[in-house]
């Protein structure tokens, strides 16, 4: 059984079919990349998995259960975490606070115990902090721990967002263009991190990415999309040499 299954998923915005009868499976432990030209519906697929949109047709299953029954805020507690294409961090909070928000799905305390900050809340806070510190260590964010997001450079924000998603302790990590706007060195770092996330932490990664160097370097399988539909699915090399993919990117030879 696959970790994530999409079955003939269709989403329409008015007359525009953003995702057209798309089916694919993500196996546990793999890095799965989605590529495609702008407007192919890659981010929309992410928003469907995050339950921001309801598909008009089709099924999404996670770990064998119907994900479409989950409310948008429950998706995280199912073990699906994500980052955003245009960085959606909590700007007027510190890096540490941002990462701790990632622990929210593990909250066991209620309003009253938090107002009195009971020993159990304190214990949970220490555990949360411990978990978050491991991520800070993993992503080399020590220098930024108490810095406000609003003052951080773009590349660091990108990493903090990955860290925040990891802080939820997910089974599946959705990375929406993790390398966009990053320098060559930062992209290389990201590549090793994605590799380590899969190998060390055992987290399955589903990512949308334009940087083919990163995609072919790190992913096991690639899905190419155009106009909301599947073009090709296979290893990076297979997809890159697929005539339909070349046509979608470069156009037909005259």
């Amino acid at each position: 059984m696959s970790l994530l299954e999409l079955e003939t998923v269709t989403l329409k915005f008015g007359g525009l079919t953003a995702v057209d009868r798309l089916s694919f499976c993500v196996e546990e432990g793999e890095v799965f990349a989605i590529v495609g030209p702008n407007g192919a519906g890659k981010s929309t697929v992410f928003n469907l998995i995050s339950r921001f949109y309801d598909p008009h047709e089709g099924a999404i299953r996670f770990d064998g259960h119907d994900l479409l029954r989950a409310r948008p805020d429950a998706v995280a507690s199912w073990g699906v975490a994500r980052t955003f294409q245009n960085i959606e961090l909590f700007d007027h909070a510190t890096v540490l606070q941002n990462l701790l928000v990632g622990r929210h799905r593990h909250r066991r305390s209620n309003l009253l115990s938090e107002i009195f900050f009971t020993p159990s809340v304190r214990k949970a806070e220490i555990q949360n902090r411990h978990f978050v510190e491991e991520i800070i260590d993993f992503l080399d964010l020590q220098a930024y721990r108490d810095k406000m997001i609003a003052g951080l450079p773009y590349g660091v924000r990108k990493v903090v967002e990955v860290g925040r998603a990891l802080a939820t302790d997910p089974k599946l990590l959705l990375l929406d263009e993790p390398a966009s706007g990053l320098s060559v060195e930062e992209t290389t770092d990201m590549r090793w991190w994605i590799d380590d996330i899969r190998r060390q932490m055992g987290i399955t990664v589903l990512m949308v990415e334009h940087d083919m160097g990163l995609v072919s370097g790190v992913s096991d399988r690639v899905l190419a999309m155009a106009d909301g539909a599947k073009l090709a699915l296979g290893t990076p090399a297979e997809v890159q040499s697929d005539p339909a993919v070349i046509e979608a990117y470069l156009g037909r030879a005259a």
Partner: protein
């Protein structure tokens, strides 16, 4: 510069940074407790007023400063708390029961109102709450069997652990009562901010989309925030009623709502300090103005001329000046001044400049 070396997670979890900071706050608290012996009756009354405004400001700060939902209708909840407290006391309930209950009832009322209201965003929510504030004025007049309508009500003296407390008879004891409430509310607020719910508030304020993706139930979080905010505001309202002694439908007008919102903006949105700083400005501005007027009058003559709307005019100008020059409020300015001294002579002018924010994800719905 003072650097705190951290060797334990508790150093970040406990509310104070180090012993020095704790000492300062304890000294401040001691000074506050000693105020009735240090100040004369007039200034003690003013200080009590400032503290009551600060409690109301803390209430609005939860909602506006930390959850990012503007409310122009919090006078409605001041009124609700005030009337609930007095009506409960008149029905024979002792103050020590009626007072907490008044806040809790106001909180529940707020949470129920929040369920439809918080589907609105930004300016629309502000308009909705503004309407609420106007509506409550009418409701008080219409239900005059309970509220005394336009004639209003008088606050009875209250009994705390066997002590009769009254605003004019025992100003010291009344001040301590208000101080006690302020301290308890502040401590609860501090605790909340270092717990998951407080972070969820901030998450909802800064990005609802990603708060949701992190597993925060946005609607529920906003509702809890509204409820908490209203409960604290209700307590402030109850104290305001006792402080004023007499009140009617006009005591808690829309103007109070607007004043409350301006207060926390001037004080500094998103900080507990901001509520107190703002309350000091609001509380002492009328006194400051009358002293300034007297002085100007003594120099140029004409001190007896009453200028209608002077207070609000000055207040509006202060607000505009803050929004233009110091959007972080008095607390933001205080942080800068403190950093200047801590780093002297290495403070740079652009230290607090914020980098431009990047593109936001398009609205999803």
């Amino acid at each position: 510069m003072r650097i705190v070396f951290k060797t334990d997670y508790m150093q970040d979890i406990r509310p104070w940074k180090d012993g020095q900071q704790l000492t300062l706050y304890l000294l401040l608290l001691a000074a506050a407790i000693a105020a009735p012996w240090l100040l004369d009756v007039f200034f003690l009354g003013e200080l009590t007023n400032v503290l009551i405004w600060a409690i109301a400001g803390l209430g609005l700060m939860v909602l506006t400063g930390h959850t990012g939902q503007a409310s122009l209708g919090h006078a409605a909840f001041l009124a609700a708390g005030c009337y609930a407290n007095i009506i409960l006391m008149e029905s024979g309930m002792p103050f020590m029961l009626a007072f907490p209950l008044a806040g809790i009832l106001t909180g529940f009322a707020g949470a129920i109102i929040a369920i439809p209201a918080l589907r609105l965003h930004g300016i629309y929510l502000a308009i909705f709450t503004l309407a609420l504030s106007i509506l409550v004025d009418d409701i008080i007049v219409l239900s005059d069997a309970w509220t005394g309508g336009v004639g209003g009500k008088f606050a009875p003296p209250v009994n705390v652990f066997g002590f009769e407390i009254e605003r004019w008879g025992t100003p010291g004891a009344f001040y301590w009562l208000v101080l006690g409430v302020a301290v308890i509310v502040t401590l609860g607020y501090v605790n909340l901010l270092r717990a998951p719910l407080g972070r969820a508030f901030i998450a909802v304020r800064d990005s609802e989309v990603s708060a949701q993706a992190m597993g925060v139930n946005v609607a529920r979080t906003k509702t809890i925030s509204f409820g908490l905010s209203c409960a604290v505001t209700g307590w402030a309202g109850a104290l305001m009623g006792l402080y004023a002694g007499a009140f009617n439908n006009e005591t808690f007008s829309v103007v109070i709502s607007i004043q409350l919102l301006m207060m926390i903006v001037i004080g500094g949105l998103g900080s507990i300090h901001g509520a107190y700083f703002g309350a000091i400005v609001i509380g002492f501005l009328p006194q400051f103005l009358s002293i300034a007027k007297e002085y100007v009058g003594a120099v140029f003559g004409g001190s007896s001329v009453a200028i209608p709307g002077l207070e609000f005019g000055i207040f509006g100008m202060i607000l505009i000046a803050f929004i233009l020059l110091e959007p972080m409020g008095i607390y933001g300015r205080w942080l800068k001044v403190r950093t200047w001294f801590e780093l002297f002579p290495f403070y740079r002018k652009d230290m607090f400049k914020r980098q431009k924010s990047y593109l936001k994800t398009e609205r999803l719905r």
